[in-house]
Symmetry: C2
Subunit: 355 residues, 2 copies
């Protein structure tokens, strides 16, 4: 298993990403971490590993379980098993499980080793790399957490076979976002030409795509490991619009990925209206997103505007009172711009433009 990507992140910690060609490498690799290891899984991902390793915890799955109670279960098990600072925590699961395992690892004895084995597409292509750890707190997403990069990130695209379809499509949206955030054409072009293989989860193709997607993320986060100079913010492309939509639907009507894809569409249109975004690029990108089934033509009802507006403001008010968005000049060239309220309104409630 070869190192595919290596990035130096928060506290000078290096994260190495390995992308395996098949799962037979999994057990060999995992057993290489020795005995001083706590394995953390959720009720679904624990099915992927047989036999279960000696020291393990199995947590509930799902966003509501991303809380301190579960982090404490990890910490308590580590203490009860007599693990110390030289131990490693290995998290096997999606973003929820990996965020919690990483958070716990950053706290145990002020930081032990951390290995992540992402098992959702979103986590393979995005969440596992970057050092952000968190739990949700008092209704706020990721309100409590640390920056603590994993030492190793082990990716086995074959594990995606058992992933529910909705979760798979969820991850595609963040990959498409990465495709738009790089000047390198490879990712964009593959999405354009290999739709069937991608939707069929062809593990060989996914190996390439996940690598390319992580290359894009790595380029941004390595220049801004602790989100301090604005560079990392580019990765929020589509997220301010998307999050306001998710929230409008009570986090039930829209999946995160579908909302982000829609948000990217709104950002492309905002850029076009402001004369910032190349219209041809914007049209092409909208079409690519629509090709993967995302509803780019959706608009909110007039009666929903006040709530949507409030969601946007709440999301952003903490910065400096103005609402800034990530827009794209063209492929790979993000730019942060204020968009005034009237334009936001026009973008989200006007009828879809004729294509």
């Amino acid at each position: 298993m070869e190192e595919r990507i290596s990035v130096v992140l928060a506290s000078g910690r290096k994260s190495s990403v390995y992308i395996a060609s098949n799962t037979s490498e999994l057990s060999a690799r995992l057993s290489s971490y020795g005995a001083n290891v706590l394995w953390v899984m959720d009720e679904h991902t624990s099915q992927l590993l047989r036999p279960l390793p000696p020291i393990h915890v199995i947590l509930e799955a799902g966003e509501p379980s991303k809380n301190w109670r579960n982090v404490e279960i990890i910490l308590r098990t580590a203490v009860q098993e007599g693990l110390a600072r030289d131990a490693a925590f290995v998290g096997i699961g999606g973003g929820v499980l990996c965020d919690m395992t990483a958070f716990a690892a950053s706290l145990f004895m002020r930081g032990c080793s951390l290995v992540l084995v992402p098992t959702t597409l979103l986590c393979m292509t995005d969440a596992a790399l970057g050092g952000k750890t968190a739990i949700d707190y008092m209704g706020g997403k990721n309100l409590v957490g640390t920056f603590y990069p994993a030492r190793d990130i082990l990716i086995f695209p074959e594990l995606l076979k058992s992933l529910p379809e909705g979760e798979y499509v969820n991850g595609l949206a963040e990959m498409l976002k990465h495709a738009l955030l790089t000047e390198d054409e490879s990712l964009y072009r593959t999405f354009l030409t290999k739709k069937k293989n991608i939707l069929d989860r062809d593990p060989v193709l996914l190996r390439t795509l996940i690598g390319l997607s992580l290359d894009v993320k790595a380029a941004y986060i390595s220049r801004d490991p602790e989100e301090k100079n604005g560079i990392r913010q580019a990765l929020n492309l589509g997220h301010t619009f998307g999050h306001a939509l998710e929230s409008l639907g009570g986090f039930r009507s829209w999946s995160h990925g579908a909302a982000v894809a829609w948000g990217i569409g709104r950002a492309l249109e905002a850029g076009t209206m402001l004369g910032l975004t190349e219209p041809r690029f914007a049209a092409g990108a909208q079409k690519l997103l629509a090709m993967y089934g995302y509803d780019m033509d959706y608009r909110i009802g007039r009666g929903e505007w006040m709530q949507f507006r409030q969601n946007i403001l709440r999301d952003k008010k903490k910065e400096d009172g103005h609402v800034h968005f990530i827009l794209l000049e063209k492929q790979g060239i993000p730019i942060r711009r204020m968009v005034d309220e009237q334009m936001i309104q026009a973008l989200v409630i006007s009828p879809p433009l004729k294509k």
Copy 2:
């Protein structure tokens, strides 16, 4: 108020230490942090500040309160008051309060600003500087925590006036440790010649002494901010012996400072027996510690040895199975050495050597 010390620590964060000549500078300085501030105090230290700032929490005092429940009170208040990533937490108190406030600051929105106003001698001279944050967990001290250096550390020696005598003497032990850990004679010499003024808590003299003491700590921690290369371990001088003794007394018979002073004595004697420590230096240092009232001649009873031995092993077993101690070749030259069990026994239970 001038910056007295500046050290770059974990994650490249800079800590600036200010040592004030009188408390009149306190309120001016504190109001400079603006409105976006959460003040954290304990039931005793909240008496030092009048009027109380608008957004504050007052926690219970004492080591048993160094737990997640209190950290959560800090976090919850921050969320309820609508604070965001640009907020600052200001902790006013001893090591317990500062460790918890710093821990909470490191977690809130993955890290907000942190200012510490240490109010015990131990915290002024040791705990507030260095970036170690923690809570106790499942009976283990500092088992859960982070590395998160304070941006500013504001020291007002006059605040020590109200500190109980036992707490004051507790802090002196860590200062004396620092005096032995530097080749610079100033701190050692002042302890030797100014006993009365020191015990009288002369704020002008303390200003100098605290500065010198922090210089020593700064020199070690700046070369090893996250305790990774062994340099920072030198600051554990006296702590392995001392901790085993505290534990033997159920953490009631011995204060931390008195136990550490005794432990330094044992380390000096170990070094002398091994032919590593200059005998004249060792004798002088033992005498200096005794001068400040620490019981350097104490030995444990034969019947206590098995428990003491176990305490030492539990403290150390996690490293590599061997028991290493910090010894001193001479003033300012620490060295890490294995000491075998028989010698440990001789050091702690044999009758005191004639002086």
